[in-house]
């Protein structure tokens, strides 16, 4: 069996495990965008691995990637909004404006992308979109650490896994862009493996029990840490 297909099936299994873990532990409500992302990833993965003749092509991959790009930005925005929901001062106005503008820009790109878009168009835009997403995650992380914001382990896991994967993904695209499509199988394998690791980490975090925080109930209520 093609190793890429094998990894694809493994990703599918781990995605299901992550989603079941989120619902079983009651964490699905803590990040609607990431749940949507996981469902979209599962759907996209199932279509390409079960019906490769129909869906294993660049056009489908490109459309799927555009959906992922929008969802990734929404994940970043949602984590920031949830983390700073009771800390409006930490959520600087410019950050909100820029984050919103990035979402709008990506959504527009998704709607106005030519239907018969060539392979190169996506590669031309993908690094910028990824950079915007990663920038959003980085700013959120900086504000969380600087203002000592108590953030849920699930949100931390999302940020901590997403960003390194984006680096692998961008590197794969850059290598293919600069060294030619002949490296596509190798880069595809690298990307799939990194994706599998990321989703496996999420699945593990989704299932893991949270250790209770040794703080007073009053502080817990003030910081809204019940089910945060």
């Amino acid at each position: 069996m093609d190793p890429r297909l094998l990894i694809g099936h493994a990703v599918k299994v781990v995605l299901v495990a992550a989603l079941v873990g989120l619902y079983a532990r009651g964490r699905s409500g803590r990040g609607l965008a990431i749940v949507a992302y996981l469902w979209a990833a599962l759907l996209g993965n199932s279509l390409t691995t079960l019906w490769p003749d129909l869906f294993f092509n660049y056009e489908f991959w490109m459309r799927r990637q555009a959906v992922f790009d929008v969802l990734k930005l929404l994940v970043g925005v949602e984590i920031a909004l949830r983390a700073f929901r009771i800390f409006p001062g930490a959520r600087a106005t410019w950050e909100r404006l820029v984050a919103a503008s990035v979402v709008v820009a990506t959504t527009s790109a998704f709607w106005f992308l030519p239907r018969e878009a060539p392979y190169g168009v996506l590669f031309a835009h993908q690094p910028q979109i990824i950079a915007a997403t990663v920038w959003l995650f980085t700013v959120t992380s900086l504000v969380i650490v600087h203002y000592r914001i108590p953030v849920a382990p699930w949100h931390r896991a999302i940020l901590l896994a997403f960003v390194p994967y984006q680096l692998v993904f961008t590197t794969s695209i850059a290598v293919m862009k600069n060294l030619g499509a002949s490296l596509h199988p190798a880069m595809g394998l690298l990307d799939s493996t990194a994706y599998l690791v990321m989703v496996a980490y999420w699945a593990q975090t989704a299932w893991r029990r949270e250790e209770p925080l040794a703080i007073s109930p009053a502080t817990r209520r003030t910081l809204q840490l019940e089910g945060a």
Binding site: P127, I130, V134, T170, A214, I215, L225
Partner: protein, 218 residues
């Protein structure tokens, strides 16, 4: 390649920041700030600081007695003991001052910290430092900035006082060394009292503002 570099740098930043992030520690800090146990925490801290002073002073007095008894090796050993107590305590104070600086970001408003007057110190370096701190207090605008600078100054002051004690130990004349050590030790004590005051101000500032407001202003 520019985008790739940006993503790579961001990845390092996120991994370092969130990799070291400790939710339990953050929650404890918030609990300290909002838990309403300020006076109890201050008393505990004062007791711990007083214990350090007593240990250092007792060792120093025993060293002084050993000099009077003409027991030089014992005096050196006891002086070293006194130094080691304060060396360990200095690490503790610097860590606490760092935490105070970090926790100051979490307070909605800051009560003003009392200035460090050069006249309260004997060691030249610390007097100079206190003078610089006074000037900075006039330049800086917000109470938060003054508070943070004061915490930095205190941390540096502890290092200078410890260095003065270390240098004093190296003197040939043991009596002079002991006296110099004592002077630096007294400066260290003054800094320690100022450090407790900083913690008190932080906790009082947090307790003074309505808790929900304190959180909401961040």
């Amino acid at each position: 390649m520019l985008w790739l570099g940006l993503v790579a740098v961001s990845t390092i930043v996120v991994c370092v920041l969130l990799g070291r992030y400790d939710r339990a520690a953050v929650a404890r800090e918030w609990d300290m700030m909002l838990g309403g146990r300020a006076s109890e925490d201050i008393r505990t801290l004062e007791r711990a600081c007083e214990l350090d002073h007593m240990m250092a002073d007792d060792s120093w007095q025993a060293a002084w007695q050993a000099v009077k008894d003409d027991d030089r090796p014992e005096a050196v050993r006891l002086l070293d003991l006194s130094y080691q107590v304060l060396e360990a305590a200095t690490i503790n104070r610097r860590v606490r001052l760092r935490a105070v600086r970090v926790c100051a970001r979490m307070a909605a408003a800051m009560a003003p910290a009392p200035p460090l007057w050069p006249a309260h110190f004997e060691t030249t370096e610390i007097r100079t430092l206190a003078g610089v701190a006074i000037v900075l207090q006039h330049i800086l605008v917000s109470a938060y900035e003054r508070f943070v600078v004061q915490a930095h100054v205190l941390a540096l002051g502890f290092v200078l006082a410890l260095r003065a004690m270390r240098r004093a130990r190296g003197g040939r004349d043991l009596t002079t060394a002991l006296l110099r050590f004592d002077v630096a030790k007294m400066d260290w004590r003054s800094l320690d009292e100022a450090h407790v005051e900083m913690v008190r101000i932080l906790l009082v500032s947090a307790a003074a503002s309505r808790r929900d407001v304190a959180v909401a202003r961040l």
